[in-house]
């Protein structure tokens, strides 16, 4: 660790002071408002004494921002930058700097939330629609989703879709022996608990007679081979099975796409479209399907609808398919996507266009063909005659010597036994090709060989169909045009860089600039996930310290950094519980208790590991009904596997009986999965591992400052007590022990590069700062509860009237008194310049508000004032000034189109509608569209960029 800078150490203002919104004076005023004598007193009233952590959280001294960056420089210096030719689904790529600076490094993009409120998310919804269009075009399939976590989990999701949709009743799935090994490992993990058998083989030979519900084939294969997959696809379909192709997007610019080969589903990674490898992630994976399967497509899908004026507007489509509504009937627990990375990849395609992408692919292929010709001349003819960018060389006894020479020359090759793999990419220069030849023992000149090298793509598999024909992929080729396009889109959205986003359970806190800085350093960005470990010493030093810090904060004994989202953490945690029971000869334990207030991912995750959900009731106060819990735990004592419980509860309250709940479950043979979504209300005050939990996931994108990226990336590491440590997720490139658990993600450390964000946050806050953040988050929530309660009743509190870090306010009475819905309030808040709180979760018709510690008293007051002003508008409806249908609530949000109408025949003035109380005319945020019609979009599903005629019509209308 670097030496603290003495000047900075003396500075009066710490990072924690900058991270936390309210000043000391504000805190004093807010304590008066909530009627607490001190922060300590408020904490004593809020958390049950039985769970309080009495000793201070010791994480060493907090570093200043300057010192933290110096420390990160040191760690970066311990990572060795090599030329990675490993391939295996991860490629070097060039992120255009205009996209790096204006999206990846731009808070207008990275601090936005998932676009559940479509009116204030039109910019990133358009970028995601571009992504879907790009995927649909390149794969030649009808409909794509707006990203999955990685290629391995995308393949696992495709397998689950196939199992559900196939007419075949058999429980076996075929996996091509050319599939990337990490994909195979993730598929095995997913299949095993559900009793699905994985059959591995050569699809050109082994499909005959195989009874399967689906099969996944890699295109091109992991060894580089390009095979004509038409026959195996036809063979799968003839059995009634679904044919899934895992395809390299860049190769599809040159090769016949999966849809034209007959595939039902395509999956893969969009990483090489401009997203740094990042030692494993984050990147956007994709899935595209034929029209017949569109309603089974997992994850988020952007669609086109219309707004209140009948104008086109984007929105998330088919929301009911998401697990938050289907719950235990969900077939997938996918929640977080990889929006920021999908946006970057789509912009890479917008920047290059179809010709540019094709040229990049041609150049890579040309260099690969030259490399192959040179290797053949050196006596190392590649195994396959036809390839795109990857060669496999059977090097016999020489393999290790060649590998070592390559390493000395700064090149990483893939090694499997005596086979060497070499994958080229956009960054591979002729000099690198010559260096590879030298490692193989020959001093050849690139230019000499190039003249003799022929194209090695198979004649019958050349792409003939057009792609990316939409104008968006042609109109932004100059940097000026692209710069302005990205700015135009981000200006349509309301992110944290403009206003508080008071989303309950989502924890939209500050994503500090210093935390983001190292993310784009090549020493963190350019490492291949399967690079030799000694090249990633800086990463591993950080992993060790981050794991230790997370364990210290939570009271667990071991941590896995692998899960890529909260839902994936749940899945990994339940797999650990399942393996633990099985190892003790109690594999029959399959009942999972879940309170009715749980997040929808909980039952979906339980379902994925083969558990049956038993719902536990909540009492009138919103707490778990302990009697009901005891009765159900005892009833199922012989087959109880676990409880999944969120703490503080999804109702935003520290339940008094959490210790009892844990004890009851343990007494009946179950394990306690404590959902860490609300960990930000506990850090420094209570540790789940101390009061009875066995395993938790930690949403690093909530409590630990990874920005939401407009709907991903996220990270959901899990912590476990010692008895579960042997069952943490494994590594896809290593053998899984007999009673162990396989990997849940393609890369061993998940989205490793964004771990730097959480790590720096913890370093700069220190133990005291983190505890202070928790206390202020709780103070802010109680302050809002106190201010809003006279206007919107607060639904749940603990026995002394305190809420935790969030509160639910209940406007349901206004449905009766004025016809006003929760939607009306949410959309009206847009006119006041705010993102709505969480709507209808966990209680339908209510709003859940979470301010976080980062919002200042001034911003919180501005929000409360807006809510109170809306209450006054509701009173005007109640008083008969206007009907709800003609009210500024129902007609919200108000747009520039509305205010510019020549005639204004509404029951309120333009000012009342467009500039309600307290809003600034100078800094007005205008929703680009009026209220979006959800039903229209789901009934008329359009999930790719609208055709050119629509643009022509819109232009004519202007």
């Amino acid at each position: 660790m670097s030496k603290p800078n003495p000047a900075a150490a003396k500075a009066a203002v710490t990072f924690a002071d900058r991270h936390i919104g309210p000043s000391a004076q504000d805190v004093a005023a807010m304590l008066t408002t909530v009627g607490a004598d001190s922060l300590d007193a408020l904490m004593d009233e809020t958390l049950p004494p039985a769970i309080r952590q009495r000793e201070p959280l010791d994480l060493g001294p907090a570093l200043s921002e300057t010192d933290a960056l110096a420390h990160m420089r040191e760690l970066a210096g311990q990572n060795r930058l090599m030329v990675s030719l490993i391939g295996q689904g991860y490629s070097g790529t060039i992120l255009p700097t205009v996209i790096q600076r204006n999206i990846l490094e731009n808070p207008a993009w990275y601090t936005a939330y998932t676009p559940y409120q479509p009116e204030i998310s039109q910019g990133r919804l358009e970028a995601l629609l571009n992504f879907q269009t790009m995927i649909g075009d390149l794969t030649a399939l009808d409909i794509a989703n707006a990203s999955l976590l990685d290629e391995g989990t995308a393949a696992a999701e495709a397998m689950a879709l196939a199992e559900r949709m196939s007419q075949v009743k058999t429980k076996a799935f075929f996996v091509d022996h050319e599939v990337h090994p990490q994909t195979l490992a993730v598929l095995r993990t997913r299949a095993e608990p559900l009793g699905w058998r994985i059959i591995i083989g050569d699809p050109m030979r082994d499909l005959e007679g195989a009874e399967v519900f689906g099969g996944v084939l890699q295109y091109p294969g992991t060894s580089g081979v390009i095979r004509d997959l038409r026959e195996p696809i036809a063979a799968l379909k003839a059995k009634g099975a679904l044919a899934i192709i895992a395809a390299d997007l860049l190769a599809l610019t040159l090769l016949t796409p999966p849809g034209e080969l007959g595939a039902d589903i395509a999956v893969g990674s969009a990483q090489r479209f401009g997203v740094p490898m990042g030692y494993g992630g984050p990147h956007a994976a994709y899935m595209a399907v034929r029209d017949a399967y569109k309603r089974s497509l997992p994850g988020r899908i952007v669609g086109l609808s219309i707004d209140a004026r009948g104008e086109p507007a984007y929105r998330l489509a088919l929301q009911t398919r998401e697990q938050h509504i289907r719950r235990e009937k969900a077939t997938s627990n996918i929640c977080t996507a990889q929006v920021l990375l999908a946006v970057i990849s789509s912009m890479y395609a917008v920047y290059h266009g179809p010709e540019g992408l094709t040229q990049i692919a041609r150049d890579i292929h040309q260099r690969t063909a030259v490399l192959a010709a040179g290797l053949a001349a050196l006596g190392y003819a590649p195994r396959h005659d036809q390839f795109f960018d990857t060669l496999s060389i059977d090097a016999g006894a020489e393999a290790s010597a060649i590998f070592a020479r390559a390493q000395d020359a700064g090149l990483n090759l893939r090694v499997t036994g005596n086979t060497l793999g070499i994958a080229l990419d956009e960054t591979t220069t002729p000099e690198i090709v010559e260096a590879v030849w030298r490692a193989f023992g020959g001093a050849l000149a690139y230019d000499d060989i190039e003249a003799k090298a022929a194209d090695r793509l198979p004649e019958g598999l050349r792409r003939t169909s057009a792609f990316l024909t939409h104008p968006v992929f042609h109109a932004h080729r100059s940097e000026t045009e692209l710069l302005r396009y990205m700015r135009r889109l981000s200006d349509r959205d309301l992110a944290l860089d403009r206003a508080m986003i008071p989303l309950g359970s989502c924890t939209m806190k500050l994503n500090a600039t210093t935390e983001m800085i190292p993310l784009t350093w090549p020493e963190f960005g350019s490492l291949h996930p399967f690079a030799p470990r000694d090249q990633a010493a800086g990463y591993h030093a950080m992993f060790t310290r981050l794991e230790a810090a997370l364990a210290a904060m939570t009271g667990y004994d071991a941590v896995s950094l692998q899960p890529n989202s909260g839902a994936q953490g749940e899945y990994a945690g339940l797999l650990a519980i399942r393996a633990y029971h099985a190892a003790r000869g109690e594999g029959h334990r399959k009942i999972c208790l879940i309170p009715s207030s749980a997040h929808g991912t909980n039952p979906a995750s339980a379902h994925m590991v083969g558990m049956s959900v038993v719902v536990v009731a909540c009492d009138a106060g919103g707490n778990v009904d302990v009697d009901d819990l005891r009765a159900k735990a005892e009833k199922h004592r012989d087959d109880l596997a676990a409880i999944m419980i969120t703490y503080p509860s999804t109702h935003g309250v520290f339940e008094e009986h959490i210790r009892d709940i844990c004890d009851i479950v343990h007494a009946n043979g179950g394990q306690v999965y404590l959902d860490g979504a609300n960990l930000n209300a506990q850090v420094g005050l209570a540790r789940p591992g101390d009061y009875g939990a066995d395993v938790s996931h930690f949403n690093l994108h909530k409590t630990f400052c990874i920005p939401h990226g407009g709907g991903g990336p996220g990270m959901g590491p899990i912590g476990v007590k010692a008895h579960l440590a042997p069952y943490l997720p494994g590594d896809g490139n290593r053998e899984v022990p007999a009673d162990g658990v396989g990997p849940v993600s393609a890369a061993p450390y998940g989205s490793a590069s964004i771990l730097v964000i959480s790590y720096i946050y913890i370093l700069m806050m220190g133990g005291a700062g983190l505890r202070r953040a928790t206390e202020i988050a709780i103070l802010n929530a109680n302050y809002i509860a106190t201010r809003l309660d006279p206007h919107f009743p607060v639904l749940y509190r603990n026995h002394v009237g305190r809420v935790a870090h969030e509160c639910i306010v209940d406007p349901r009475a206004f449905k009766t008194s004025a016809g006003v819905t929760v939607d009306d309030i949410a959309k009206r808040l847009i006119d006041y310049g705010f993102h709505a709180p969480t709507m209808s979760f966990p209680v339908a018709g209510t709003l859940m508000i979470e301010p976080t510690e980062s919002e200042s008293k001034a911003e919180i007051d501005r929000f409360c004032d807006a809510m109170i002003a809306i209450r006054e508008e509701i009173a005007e409806i109640e008083g008969g000034r206007f009907a709800v249908e003609a009210s500024p609530l129902r007609l919200a949000p108000h747009t520039v189109h509305d205010i510019a109408d020549d005639t204004w025949d509404r029951a309120y003035s333009r000012t009342e509608g467009c500039f309600p109380k307290g809003t600034s005319r100078t800094d007005k945020y205008w929703s680009p569209v009026g209220r979006v019609d959800n039903a229209y979009g789901d009934r008329n599903l359009v999930c790719s960029c609208p055709p050119m005629e629509d643009y022509a019509l819109a232009a004519a209308a202007e």
Partner: protein, 120 residues
């Protein structure tokens, strides 16, 4: 012709040994705008209580359970094409018709008055 109701807010119109099945006005008002429905295949043998159809609205995705056992003899493709019919007139927007396997299973269902009391 009699109309019967279930606890799960389905209606059955009984004509001889044929039962025509849909969801009630109360059900559609709870669901909100219906955007998609999935119906069973003609010829499928349904047991009482088995999930037979799926109805999706902007707010929820719900299963429709077979209120009685029987063979599916006809499904309403018009309502698949235009699910909004369920919101505008739920009593005529039928889902599927069953050949009643056991008239005895009708005994446990509610009549109009009992159903109105059930949702009141």
């Amino acid at each position: 012709m009699t109309t019967l109701y279930t606890d799960d807010h389905e209606w059955l119109r009984i004509e001889g040994d044929t039962a025509t099945i849909g969801i009630t006005d109360y059900a559609q008002s709870q669901l909100g705008d219906v955007v998609f429905i999935e119906l069973p295949k003609v010829g499928r043998q349904l047991k009482k209580g088995e999930a037979a159809a799926v109805v999706e609205s902007v707010k929820a995705a719900s299963d429709v359970y077979a209120p009685i056992g029987g063979e599916v003899i006809e499904v309403n493709d018009a309502v698949v094409a235009d699910p909004a019919q369920i919101n505008s007139d739920s009593m005529s927007a039928w889902f599927f018709k069953l050949k009643i396997a056991d008239q005895g299973e009708l005994a446990g269902l509610m009549d109009e008055a009992a159903y109105q009391a059930h949702i009141a």
